[in-house]
Symmetry: C2
Subunit: 249 residues, 2 copies
Amino acid sequence: MNIINAPCETCESKNCFIQKLSHEQLSCVDSQKQTFSFFRNQNIFWENAAVNGVYFIKTGKVKVFSMGINDREKIVRLASDGHIIGHRGYGAEKYPVSAATLDKSLVCFIDNATLHELFMNNPVFSYAMMMFYSQELRKSEQRAKYNSQMSSRERIISALLYAKETFGYSDTEAFPPTINVHLSRAEIASLSDTTKEEVSRSLTVLERDNLIMKTGRSIQILNEKQLLHLIKDYGIYMVDEEKKQLNPL
Amino acid sequence: MNIINAPCETCESKNCFIQKLSHEQLSCVDSQKQTFSFFRNQNIFWENAAVNGVYFIKTGKVKVFSMGINDREKIVRLASDGHIIGHRGYGAEKYPVSAATLDKSLVCFIDNATLHELFMNNPVFSYAMMMFYSQELRKSEQRAKYNSQMSSRERIISALLYAKETFGYSDTEAFPPTINVHLSRAEIASLSDTTKEEVSRSLTVLERDNLIMKTGRSIQILNEKQLLHLIKDYGIYMVDEEKKQLNPL
DNA sequence: CGTGCTTTTGAATAGTATCAAGGCCGGTGG
DNA sequence: CCACCGGCCTTGATACTATTCAAAAGCACG
Protein backbone atom coordinates (compact mmCIF):
# COMPACT_ATOMS: atom_id res chain seq x y z
CA MET A 1 0.00 0.00 0.00
CA ASN A 2 2.33 2.70 -1.24
CA ILE A 3 1.53 6.37 -0.97
CA ILE A 4 1.88 8.23 -4.23
CA ASN A 5 0.33 11.68 -4.18
CA ALA A 6 -0.27 13.80 -7.24
CA PRO A 7 -2.11 17.13 -7.55
CA CYS A 8 -5.84 16.86 -8.24
CA GLU A 9 -5.53 19.31 -11.12
CA THR A 10 -3.53 16.84 -13.14
CA CYS A 11 -5.88 13.95 -12.35
CA GLU A 12 -7.47 12.29 -15.33
CA SER A 13 -10.72 11.48 -13.52
CA LYS A 14 -12.54 14.61 -14.49
CA ASN A 15 -15.89 13.25 -13.36
CA CYS A 16 -14.57 13.21 -9.81
CA PHE A 17 -16.47 15.42 -7.41
CA ILE A 18 -13.38 17.09 -6.15
CA GLN A 19 -12.83 18.54 -9.59
CA LYS A 20 -15.71 20.89 -8.87
CA LEU A 21 -13.68 22.82 -6.33
CA SER A 22 -11.88 26.09 -6.91
CA HIS A 23 -8.11 26.36 -7.46
CA GLU A 24 -7.35 27.32 -3.88
CA GLN A 25 -9.56 24.61 -2.48
CA LEU A 26 -7.97 22.02 -4.73
CA SER A 27 -4.53 22.86 -3.41
CA CYS A 28 -5.92 22.62 0.11
CA VAL A 29 -7.14 19.13 -0.74
CA ASP A 30 -3.80 18.30 -2.32
CA SER A 31 -1.95 19.15 0.84
CA GLN A 32 -4.10 16.87 2.95
CA LYS A 33 -5.14 13.98 0.77
CA GLN A 34 -3.36 10.64 0.64
CA THR A 35 -3.29 8.39 -2.38
CA PHE A 36 -2.98 4.66 -1.82
CA SER A 37 -2.18 1.89 -4.23
CA PHE A 38 -3.98 -1.44 -3.90
CA PHE A 39 -3.65 -4.84 -5.50
CA ARG A 40 -6.61 -6.95 -6.46
CA ASN A 41 -8.71 -8.27 -3.57
CA GLN A 42 -7.55 -5.86 -0.91
CA ASN A 43 -9.88 -4.09 1.49
CA ILE A 44 -9.92 -0.30 1.30
CA PHE A 45 -11.98 0.02 4.47
CA TRP A 46 -13.96 -2.31 6.68
CA GLU A 47 -17.57 -2.43 7.80
CA ASN A 48 -17.88 -1.23 11.40
CA ALA A 49 -14.51 0.49 11.36
CA ALA A 50 -14.47 4.11 12.53
CA VAL A 51 -15.21 6.63 9.79
CA ASN A 52 -12.28 8.96 9.28
CA GLY A 53 -13.14 10.34 5.88
CA VAL A 54 -14.15 9.37 2.37
CA TYR A 55 -12.29 7.90 -0.60
CA PHE A 56 -12.18 8.75 -4.27
CA ILE A 57 -11.14 6.19 -6.86
CA LYS A 58 -8.45 7.64 -9.09
CA THR A 59 -8.29 4.50 -11.21
CA GLY A 60 -9.44 0.96 -10.60
CA LYS A 61 -12.39 -1.24 -9.84
CA VAL A 62 -14.07 -1.56 -6.48
CA LYS A 63 -16.97 -3.42 -4.88
CA VAL A 64 -18.83 -2.04 -1.87
CA PHE A 65 -20.52 -4.68 0.27
CA SER A 66 -21.76 -5.56 3.71
CA MET A 67 -22.40 -8.67 5.71
CA GLY A 68 -25.98 -9.80 6.16
CA ILE A 69 -27.64 -12.73 7.83
CA ASN A 70 -25.37 -15.79 8.19
CA ASP A 71 -22.39 -13.76 7.04
CA ARG A 72 -23.78 -13.62 3.56
CA GLU A 73 -21.96 -10.95 1.63
CA LYS A 74 -24.23 -8.45 -0.10
CA ILE A 75 -22.70 -6.24 -2.78
CA VAL A 76 -24.29 -2.82 -2.60
CA ARG A 77 -22.45 -1.04 -5.35
CA LEU A 78 -19.72 -1.25 -7.96
CA ALA A 79 -17.46 1.73 -8.47
CA SER A 80 -14.83 2.86 -10.90
CA ASP A 81 -12.65 5.80 -11.93
CA GLY A 82 -13.66 9.09 -10.32
CA HIS A 83 -16.30 7.54 -8.09
CA ILE A 84 -16.59 8.38 -4.44
CA ILE A 85 -16.71 5.57 -1.88
CA GLY A 86 -17.27 5.62 1.84
CA HIS A 87 -19.81 8.42 1.63
CA ARG A 88 -22.43 6.10 3.13
CA GLY A 89 -20.47 6.28 6.34
CA TYR A 90 -19.90 10.03 6.33
CA GLY A 91 -21.78 11.46 9.27
CA ALA A 92 -22.00 8.09 11.03
CA GLU A 93 -19.72 6.55 13.63
CA LYS A 94 -18.87 3.43 11.66
CA TYR A 95 -18.85 2.45 8.02
CA PRO A 96 -22.02 0.49 7.23
CA VAL A 97 -20.15 -1.27 4.40
CA SER A 98 -16.75 -2.57 3.38
CA ALA A 99 -14.96 -1.74 0.14
CA ALA A 100 -12.54 -4.03 -1.66
CA THR A 101 -10.69 -3.85 -4.96
CA LEU A 102 -11.70 -6.05 -7.88
CA ASP A 103 -8.52 -5.03 -9.68
CA LYS A 104 -5.45 -3.01 -8.88
CA SER A 105 -6.51 0.50 -7.98
CA LEU A 106 -5.34 3.95 -6.93
CA VAL A 107 -7.51 5.50 -4.24
CA CYS A 108 -7.38 8.97 -2.68
CA PHE A 109 -8.40 9.56 0.92
CA ILE A 110 -9.71 12.84 2.30
CA ASP A 111 -10.35 13.15 6.01
CA ASN A 112 -13.45 14.34 7.81
CA ALA A 113 -11.99 17.63 8.98
CA THR A 114 -10.94 18.72 5.50
CA LEU A 115 -14.29 17.74 4.04
CA HIS A 116 -16.17 19.56 6.74
CA GLU A 117 -14.18 22.69 6.09
CA LEU A 118 -14.92 22.45 2.37
CA PHE A 119 -18.61 22.02 3.05
CA MET A 120 -18.71 25.00 5.38
CA ASN A 121 -16.84 27.29 3.02
CA ASN A 122 -18.34 26.27 -0.30
CA PRO A 123 -22.12 26.08 -0.32
CA VAL A 124 -22.18 25.15 -3.97
CA PHE A 125 -19.97 22.17 -3.27
CA SER A 126 -22.17 21.16 -0.35
CA TYR A 127 -25.21 21.51 -2.51
CA ALA A 128 -23.74 19.34 -5.26
CA MET A 129 -22.81 16.72 -2.71
CA MET A 130 -26.29 16.85 -1.21
CA MET A 131 -27.80 16.35 -4.65
CA PHE A 132 -25.51 13.38 -5.12
CA TYR A 133 -26.81 11.83 -1.92
CA SER A 134 -30.35 12.54 -3.08
CA GLN A 135 -29.65 10.67 -6.31
CA GLU A 136 -28.10 7.77 -4.47
CA LEU A 137 -31.18 7.54 -2.31
CA ARG A 138 -33.46 7.48 -5.34
CA LYS A 139 -31.37 4.78 -6.97
CA SER A 140 -31.25 2.71 -3.83
CA GLU A 141 -34.99 2.77 -3.40
CA GLN A 142 -35.75 2.10 -7.01
CA ARG A 143 -33.43 -0.84 -6.84
CA ALA A 144 -35.13 -2.11 -3.70
CA LYS A 145 -38.49 -1.83 -5.39
CA TYR A 146 -37.47 -3.73 -8.49
CA ASN A 147 -35.46 -6.32 -6.59
CA SER A 148 -38.56 -7.29 -4.74
CA GLN A 149 -40.62 -7.58 -7.91
CA MET A 150 -38.24 -9.02 -10.50
CA SER A 151 -37.45 -12.69 -11.01
CA SER A 152 -33.97 -13.96 -10.22
CA ARG A 153 -33.11 -14.10 -13.91
CA GLU A 154 -34.15 -10.49 -14.40
CA ARG A 155 -32.03 -9.45 -11.45
CA ILE A 156 -29.05 -11.33 -12.86
CA ILE A 157 -29.42 -9.58 -16.21
CA SER A 158 -29.65 -6.25 -14.39
CA ALA A 159 -26.46 -7.05 -12.54
CA LEU A 160 -24.62 -7.81 -15.77
CA LEU A 161 -25.78 -4.58 -17.37
CA TYR A 162 -24.88 -2.67 -14.23
CA ALA A 163 -21.36 -4.10 -14.32
CA LYS A 164 -21.09 -3.16 -17.98
CA GLU A 165 -22.38 0.32 -17.23
CA THR A 166 -19.88 0.82 -14.41
CA PHE A 167 -16.75 -0.67 -15.95
CA GLY A 168 -17.51 -0.50 -19.64
CA TYR A 169 -16.13 -2.86 -22.24
CA SER A 170 -12.51 -3.94 -22.26
CA ASP A 171 -12.20 -3.42 -26.00
CA THR A 172 -14.78 -1.16 -27.56
CA GLU A 173 -13.74 -2.14 -31.06
CA ALA A 174 -14.12 -5.90 -30.73
CA PHE A 175 -17.37 -7.72 -31.26
CA PRO A 176 -18.86 -9.13 -29.22
CA PRO A 177 -17.72 -6.68 -26.54
CA THR A 178 -16.46 -8.06 -23.23
CA ILE A 179 -17.52 -6.61 -19.88
CA ASN A 180 -14.40 -5.08 -18.40
CA VAL A 181 -14.41 -6.86 -15.03
CA HIS A 182 -13.97 -10.37 -13.68
CA LEU A 183 -16.65 -11.25 -11.13
CA SER A 184 -17.08 -14.69 -9.60
CA ARG A 185 -20.49 -16.37 -9.83
CA ALA A 186 -20.87 -15.76 -6.12
CA GLU A 187 -20.22 -12.04 -6.61
CA ILE A 188 -22.80 -11.80 -9.38
CA ALA A 189 -25.20 -13.67 -7.09
CA SER A 190 -24.52 -11.23 -4.28
CA LEU A 191 -25.26 -8.33 -6.61
CA SER A 192 -28.47 -10.02 -7.77
CA ASP A 193 -29.81 -11.18 -4.41
CA THR A 194 -29.68 -14.83 -5.37
CA THR A 195 -27.40 -17.90 -5.21
CA LYS A 196 -24.32 -18.80 -7.23
CA GLU A 197 -26.09 -21.89 -8.59
CA GLU A 198 -28.94 -19.79 -9.89
CA VAL A 199 -26.45 -17.44 -11.57
CA SER A 200 -24.73 -20.37 -13.18
CA ARG A 201 -27.98 -21.75 -14.52
CA SER A 202 -29.19 -18.39 -15.82
CA LEU A 203 -25.91 -17.63 -17.56
CA THR A 204 -26.06 -21.00 -19.28
CA VAL A 205 -29.56 -20.29 -20.54
CA LEU A 206 -28.58 -16.78 -21.67
CA GLU A 207 -25.68 -18.24 -23.61
CA ARG A 208 -27.92 -20.89 -25.13
CA ASP A 209 -30.24 -18.10 -26.28
CA ASN A 210 -27.34 -16.25 -27.91
CA LEU A 211 -27.67 -13.24 -25.65
CA ILE A 212 -24.25 -13.54 -24.03
CA MET A 213 -21.07 -15.58 -24.32
CA LYS A 214 -18.97 -16.68 -21.39
CA THR A 215 -15.41 -17.93 -21.16
CA GLY A 216 -14.34 -18.38 -17.57
CA ARG A 217 -15.18 -15.20 -15.75
CA SER A 218 -15.31 -12.95 -18.75
CA ILE A 219 -18.71 -12.27 -20.19
CA GLN A 220 -19.50 -10.90 -23.62
CA ILE A 221 -22.74 -9.16 -24.47
CA LEU A 222 -24.19 -10.37 -27.76
CA ASN A 223 -27.57 -8.65 -27.71
CA GLU A 224 -27.89 -5.79 -25.29
CA LYS A 225 -31.17 -4.62 -26.73
CA GLN A 226 -32.80 -7.98 -26.14
CA LEU A 227 -31.37 -8.17 -22.61
CA LEU A 228 -32.84 -4.76 -21.84
CA HIS A 229 -36.11 -5.96 -23.26
CA LEU A 230 -36.07 -9.02 -21.00
CA ILE A 231 -35.88 -6.79 -17.95
CA LYS A 232 -38.52 -4.55 -19.52
CA ASP A 233 -36.09 -1.64 -19.35
CA TYR A 234 -36.48 -1.57 -15.58
CA GLY A 235 -32.78 -2.21 -15.17
CA ILE A 236 -32.05 1.35 -16.15
CA TYR A 237 -32.21 2.25 -12.50
CA MET A 238 -28.87 0.59 -12.09
CA VAL A 239 -27.08 3.10 -14.27
CA ASP A 240 -24.65 5.11 -12.24
CA GLU A 241 -25.79 8.67 -12.26
CA GLU A 242 -22.41 9.96 -11.19
CA LYS A 243 -21.39 9.96 -14.81
CA LYS A 244 -24.19 12.28 -15.73
CA GLN A 245 -24.22 16.00 -15.39
CA LEU A 246 -24.84 17.19 -11.86
CA ASN A 247 -25.51 20.78 -10.99
CA PRO A 248 -22.18 22.25 -12.05
CA LEU A 249 -20.27 24.49 -9.67
CA MET B 1 -57.50 21.51 0.93
CA ASN B 2 -57.63 24.67 2.96
CA ILE B 3 -54.63 26.89 3.47
CA ILE B 4 -53.95 27.71 7.10
CA ASN B 5 -50.55 29.22 7.69
CA ALA B 6 -48.97 29.67 11.09
CA PRO B 7 -45.46 30.83 12.00
CA CYS B 8 -42.87 28.06 12.28
CA GLU B 9 -41.76 29.39 15.66
CA THR B 10 -45.06 28.43 17.21
CA CYS B 11 -45.09 24.98 15.59
CA GLU B 12 -45.22 22.05 17.94
CA SER B 13 -43.12 19.79 15.73
CA LYS B 14 -39.80 20.65 17.25
CA ASN B 15 -38.06 17.75 15.55
CA CYS B 16 -38.77 19.38 12.20
CA PHE B 17 -35.68 20.31 10.22
CA ILE B 18 -36.85 23.82 9.65
CA GLN B 19 -36.64 24.44 13.37
CA LYS B 20 -32.86 24.44 12.98
CA LEU B 21 -32.92 27.74 11.13
CA SER B 22 -32.22 31.16 12.59
CA HIS B 23 -34.93 33.67 13.51
CA GLU B 24 -34.56 35.68 10.31
CA GLN B 25 -34.55 32.61 8.15
CA LEU B 26 -37.62 31.26 9.88
CA SER B 27 -39.56 34.39 9.09
CA CYS B 28 -38.37 34.12 5.51
CA VAL B 29 -39.77 30.60 5.41
CA ASP B 30 -42.98 31.80 7.05
CA SER B 31 -43.56 34.34 4.33
CA GLN B 32 -43.21 31.77 1.58
CA LYS B 33 -44.48 28.50 2.93
CA GLN B 34 -48.00 27.20 2.46
CA THR B 35 -49.77 24.91 4.89
CA PHE B 36 -52.36 22.54 3.51
CA SER B 37 -54.98 20.49 5.28
CA PHE B 38 -55.75 16.99 4.04
CA PHE B 39 -58.33 14.37 4.84
CA ARG B 40 -57.54 10.69 5.01
CA ASN B 41 -56.57 9.02 1.73
CA GLN B 42 -55.66 12.15 -0.20
CA ASN B 43 -52.55 12.47 -2.30
CA ILE B 44 -50.07 15.15 -1.25
CA PHE B 45 -48.04 14.76 -4.43
CA TRP B 46 -47.85 12.30 -7.29
CA GLU B 47 -45.13 10.13 -8.70
CA ASN B 48 -43.79 11.61 -11.95
CA ALA B 49 -45.23 15.04 -11.22
CA ALA B 50 -42.82 17.96 -11.52
CA VAL B 51 -40.86 18.68 -8.35
CA ASN B 52 -41.60 22.15 -7.08
CA GLY B 53 -40.35 21.81 -3.55
CA VAL B 54 -40.52 19.66 -0.44
CA TYR B 55 -43.14 19.13 2.24
CA PHE B 56 -42.99 18.97 6.02
CA ILE B 57 -45.65 17.19 8.04
CA LYS B 58 -46.93 19.48 10.76
CA THR B 59 -49.26 16.82 12.12
CA GLY B 60 -50.64 13.64 10.61
CA LYS B 61 -49.76 10.30 9.11
CA VAL B 62 -48.41 9.75 5.64
CA LYS B 63 -47.29 6.89 3.41
CA VAL B 64 -44.72 7.38 0.66
CA PHE B 65 -44.98 4.86 -2.17
CA SER B 66 -44.33 4.21 -5.82
CA MET B 67 -45.68 2.01 -8.54
CA GLY B 68 -43.67 -1.02 -9.52
CA ILE B 69 -44.16 -3.85 -11.97
CA ASN B 70 -47.82 -4.51 -12.84
CA ASP B 71 -48.87 -1.38 -11.00
CA ARG B 72 -48.02 -2.97 -7.70
CA GLU B 73 -47.84 -0.28 -5.06
CA LYS B 74 -44.67 -0.37 -3.00
CA ILE B 75 -44.60 1.62 0.23
CA VAL B 76 -41.17 3.09 0.70
CA ARG B 77 -41.64 4.94 3.95
CA LEU B 78 -44.07 5.97 6.65
CA ALA B 79 -43.87 9.48 8.03
CA SER B 80 -45.36 11.45 10.85
CA ASP B 81 -45.20 14.76 12.72
CA GLY B 82 -42.16 16.85 11.85
CA HIS B 83 -40.97 14.54 9.09
CA ILE B 84 -39.90 15.80 5.71
CA ILE B 85 -41.41 14.27 2.58
CA GLY B 86 -40.63 14.79 -1.06
CA HIS B 87 -36.91 15.14 -0.43
CA ARG B 88 -36.30 12.09 -2.62
CA GLY B 89 -37.40 14.21 -5.53
CA TYR B 90 -35.41 17.31 -4.61
CA GLY B 91 -32.81 17.80 -7.31
CA ALA B 92 -34.67 15.63 -9.81
CA GLU B 93 -37.18 16.59 -12.47
CA LYS B 94 -40.00 14.43 -11.21
CA TYR B 95 -40.96 12.90 -7.91
CA PRO B 96 -39.91 9.24 -7.86
CA VAL B 97 -42.70 8.52 -5.37
CA SER B 98 -46.20 9.54 -4.39
CA ALA B 99 -47.29 10.55 -0.91
CA ALA B 100 -50.76 10.07 0.53
CA THR B 101 -52.32 10.63 3.92
CA LEU B 102 -53.25 7.71 6.16
CA ASP B 103 -55.14 10.09 8.41
CA LYS B 104 -56.08 13.74 8.37
CA SER B 105 -52.93 15.81 8.22
CA LEU B 106 -51.48 19.30 8.10
CA VAL B 107 -48.61 19.64 5.66
CA CYS B 108 -46.32 22.61 4.95
CA PHE B 109 -44.86 23.21 1.51
CA ILE B 110 -41.63 25.05 0.80
CA ASP B 111 -40.63 25.71 -2.77
CA ASN B 112 -37.36 24.97 -4.53
CA ALA B 113 -36.23 28.59 -4.77
CA THR B 114 -36.63 29.26 -1.06
CA LEU B 115 -34.86 26.04 -0.15
CA HIS B 116 -32.03 26.76 -2.51
CA GLU B 117 -31.54 30.17 -0.98
CA LEU B 118 -31.47 28.67 2.50
CA PHE B 119 -28.91 26.11 1.42
CA MET B 120 -26.70 28.75 -0.15
CA ASN B 121 -26.81 31.08 2.82
CA ASN B 122 -26.63 28.63 5.68
CA PRO B 123 -23.91 26.02 5.31
CA VAL B 124 -24.78 24.47 8.64
CA PHE B 125 -28.32 23.89 7.47
CA SER B 126 -27.06 22.40 4.21
CA TYR B 127 -24.72 20.18 6.13
CA ALA B 128 -27.47 18.93 8.42
CA MET B 129 -29.64 18.22 5.42
CA MET B 130 -26.81 16.40 3.71
CA MET B 131 -26.29 14.27 6.81
CA PHE B 132 -29.97 13.49 6.77
CA TYR B 133 -29.72 12.24 3.20
CA SER B 134 -26.69 10.20 4.19
CA GLN B 135 -28.71 8.55 6.95
CA GLU B 136 -31.61 7.88 4.63
CA LEU B 137 -29.24 6.21 2.21
CA ARG B 138 -27.83 3.98 4.95
CA LYS B 139 -31.29 3.01 6.10
CA SER B 140 -32.46 2.33 2.58
CA GLU B 141 -29.56 0.03 1.85
CA GLN B 142 -29.71 -1.79 5.12
CA ARG B 143 -33.37 -2.38 4.50
CA ALA B 144 -32.63 -3.68 1.02
CA LYS B 145 -30.06 -6.04 2.42
CA TYR B 146 -32.33 -7.48 5.08
CA ASN B 147 -35.37 -7.61 2.84
CA SER B 148 -33.49 -9.93 0.53
CA GLN B 149 -32.38 -12.20 3.35
CA MET B 150 -35.35 -12.30 5.73
CA SER B 151 -38.38 -14.58 5.46
CA SER B 152 -41.75 -13.05 4.69
CA ARG B 153 -42.82 -13.45 8.30
CA GLU B 154 -39.74 -11.61 9.53
CA ARG B 155 -40.41 -8.80 7.09
CA ILE B 156 -43.99 -8.54 8.28
CA ILE B 157 -42.88 -8.28 11.89
CA SER B 158 -40.39 -5.60 10.88
CA ALA B 159 -43.15 -3.67 9.17
CA LEU B 160 -45.32 -3.77 12.30
CA LEU B 161 -42.49 -2.55 14.49
CA TYR B 162 -41.65 0.13 11.96
CA ALA B 163 -45.23 1.37 12.02
CA LYS B 164 -45.17 1.38 15.80
CA GLU B 165 -41.85 3.24 15.78
CA THR B 166 -43.16 5.87 13.38
CA PHE B 167 -46.63 6.48 14.79
CA GLY B 168 -46.26 5.25 18.33
CA TYR B 169 -49.08 3.85 20.43
CA SER B 170 -52.51 5.44 20.51
CA ASP B 171 -52.75 5.14 24.28
CA THR B 172 -49.47 4.72 26.08
CA GLU B 173 -51.22 3.89 29.34
CA ALA B 174 -53.32 0.99 28.11
CA PHE B 175 -52.10 -2.57 27.94
CA PRO B 176 -51.72 -4.09 25.51
CA PRO B 177 -50.74 -0.95 23.58
CA THR B 178 -52.30 -0.35 20.17
CA ILE B 179 -50.25 0.77 17.15
CA ASN B 180 -51.48 4.25 16.34
CA VAL B 181 -52.33 3.72 12.68
CA HIS B 182 -54.81 1.78 10.57
CA LEU B 183 -53.15 -0.02 7.69
CA SER B 184 -54.91 -2.46 5.37
CA ARG B 185 -53.45 -5.93 4.92
CA ALA B 186 -52.44 -4.86 1.42
CA GLU B 187 -50.57 -1.87 2.82
CA ILE B 188 -48.71 -4.02 5.34
CA ALA B 189 -47.91 -6.40 2.48
CA SER B 190 -46.59 -3.54 0.39
CA LEU B 191 -44.35 -2.45 3.24
CA SER B 192 -43.13 -6.03 3.71
CA ASP B 193 -42.58 -6.98 0.07
CA THR B 194 -45.12 -9.76 0.15
CA THR B 195 -48.81 -10.46 -0.53
CA LYS B 196 -51.90 -9.55 1.48
CA GLU B 197 -52.73 -13.25 1.93
CA GLU B 198 -49.32 -13.90 3.46
CA VAL B 199 -49.83 -10.98 5.83
CA SER B 200 -53.18 -12.33 6.86
CA ARG B 201 -51.72 -15.76 7.55
CA SER B 202 -48.76 -14.42 9.49
CA LEU B 203 -50.88 -12.14 11.63
CA THR B 204 -53.12 -15.07 12.49
CA VAL B 205 -50.12 -17.12 13.59
CA LEU B 206 -48.67 -14.23 15.58
CA GLU B 207 -51.98 -13.83 17.36
CA ARG B 208 -52.16 -17.56 18.03
CA ASP B 209 -48.70 -17.31 19.61
CA ASN B 210 -49.83 -14.46 21.86
CA LEU B 211 -47.42 -11.98 20.34
CA ILE B 212 -50.04 -9.60 19.00
CA MET B 213 -53.80 -9.06 19.09
CA LYS B 214 -55.84 -7.81 16.17
CA THR B 215 -59.34 -6.35 15.95
CA GLY B 216 -60.10 -5.14 12.47
CA ARG B 217 -57.24 -2.99 11.37
CA SER B 218 -55.94 -2.11 14.79
CA ILE B 219 -53.06 -4.18 16.06
CA GLN B 220 -51.89 -4.50 19.62
CA ILE B 221 -48.39 -5.54 20.56
CA LEU B 222 -48.36 -8.12 23.35
CA ASN B 223 -44.70 -9.06 23.40
CA GLU B 224 -42.38 -6.64 21.69
CA LYS B 225 -39.26 -8.27 23.09
CA GLN B 226 -40.17 -11.62 21.58
CA LEU B 227 -41.05 -9.99 18.25
CA LEU B 228 -37.66 -8.32 18.16
CA HIS B 229 -36.09 -11.64 18.98
CA LEU B 230 -37.91 -13.30 16.08
CA ILE B 231 -36.35 -10.86 13.67
CA LYS B 232 -33.03 -11.31 15.49
CA ASP B 233 -32.96 -7.59 16.19
CA TYR B 234 -32.31 -6.91 12.53
CA GLY B 235 -35.48 -4.89 12.32
CA ILE B 236 -33.84 -2.08 14.19
CA TYR B 237 -32.78 -0.67 10.88
CA MET B 238 -36.34 0.38 10.35
CA VAL B 239 -36.26 2.89 13.19
CA ASP B 240 -36.60 6.38 11.86
CA GLU B 241 -33.42 8.23 12.60
CA GLU B 242 -35.05 11.59 12.14
CA LYS B 243 -36.15 11.44 15.72
CA LYS B 244 -32.61 11.12 16.93
CA GLN B 245 -30.17 13.91 17.46
CA LEU B 246 -28.63 15.18 14.27
CA ASN B 247 -25.73 17.58 14.20
CA PRO B 248 -27.42 20.54 15.88
CA LEU B 249 -27.22 23.92 14.25
C1' DC C 1 -80.54 -5.79 5.75
C1' DG C 2 -78.42 -6.21 1.56
C1' DT C 3 -74.17 -4.83 -1.20
C1' DG C 4 -69.49 -4.47 -1.95
C1' DC C 5 -65.01 -4.55 -0.14
C1' DT C 6 -61.61 -6.61 2.89
C1' DT C 7 -60.00 -10.48 5.30
C1' DT C 8 -59.34 -15.21 6.13
C1' DT C 9 -58.44 -19.82 4.86
C1' DG C 10 -57.50 -23.64 1.75
C1' DA C 11 -55.40 -25.98 -2.21
C1' DA C 12 -52.55 -26.02 -6.17
C1' DT C 13 -48.57 -24.26 -8.38
C1' DA C 14 -44.42 -21.99 -9.44
C1' DG C 15 -40.06 -20.30 -8.39
C1' DT C 16 -35.85 -20.65 -5.65
C1' DA C 17 -32.79 -22.37 -2.36
C1' DT C 18 -30.39 -26.16 -0.82
C1' DC C 19 -27.84 -30.29 -1.13
C1' DA C 20 -24.90 -33.29 -3.62
C1' DA C 21 -21.97 -35.00 -7.26
C1' DG C 22 -19.09 -34.50 -11.06
C1' DG C 23 -16.36 -31.61 -14.27
C1' DC C 24 -13.24 -28.04 -15.43
C1' DC C 25 -9.33 -25.19 -14.88
C1' DG C 26 -5.22 -23.18 -13.03
C1' DG C 27 -1.46 -23.69 -10.10
C1' DT C 28 2.08 -26.54 -7.82
C1' DG C 29 5.40 -29.81 -7.22
C1' DG C 30 7.43 -34.00 -8.60
C1' DC D 1 6.04 -32.00 -18.87
C1' DC D 2 2.66 -34.25 -16.56
C1' DA D 3 -0.05 -35.66 -12.60
C1' DC D 4 -2.30 -34.11 -8.81
C1' DC D 5 -4.83 -30.95 -5.86
C1' DG D 6 -8.11 -27.50 -4.60
C1' DG D 7 -11.30 -24.16 -5.73
C1' DC D 8 -14.82 -22.71 -8.67
C1' DC D 9 -18.39 -23.80 -11.84
C1' DT D 10 -22.09 -26.62 -13.69
C1' DT D 11 -25.89 -29.59 -13.46
C1' DG D 12 -29.43 -32.47 -11.40
C1' DA D 13 -32.65 -33.90 -7.75
C1' DT D 14 -35.22 -32.50 -3.92
C1' DA D 15 -37.51 -29.63 -0.52
C1' DC D 16 -39.52 -25.63 0.80
C1' DT D 17 -41.26 -21.13 0.77
C1' DA D 18 -44.27 -17.96 -1.09
C1' DT D 19 -47.50 -16.65 -4.77
C1' DT D 20 -51.63 -17.36 -7.05
C1' DC D 21 -56.29 -18.65 -7.54
C1' DA D 22 -60.60 -19.57 -5.47
C1' DA D 23 -64.18 -19.49 -2.14
C1' DA D 24 -66.26 -18.37 2.08
C1' DA D 25 -66.70 -15.35 6.00
C1' DG D 26 -66.62 -10.86 8.17
C1' DC D 27 -67.35 -6.03 8.23
C1' DA D 28 -68.70 -1.24 7.06
C1' DC D 29 -71.92 1.61 5.00
C1' DG D 30 -75.73 3.16 2.86
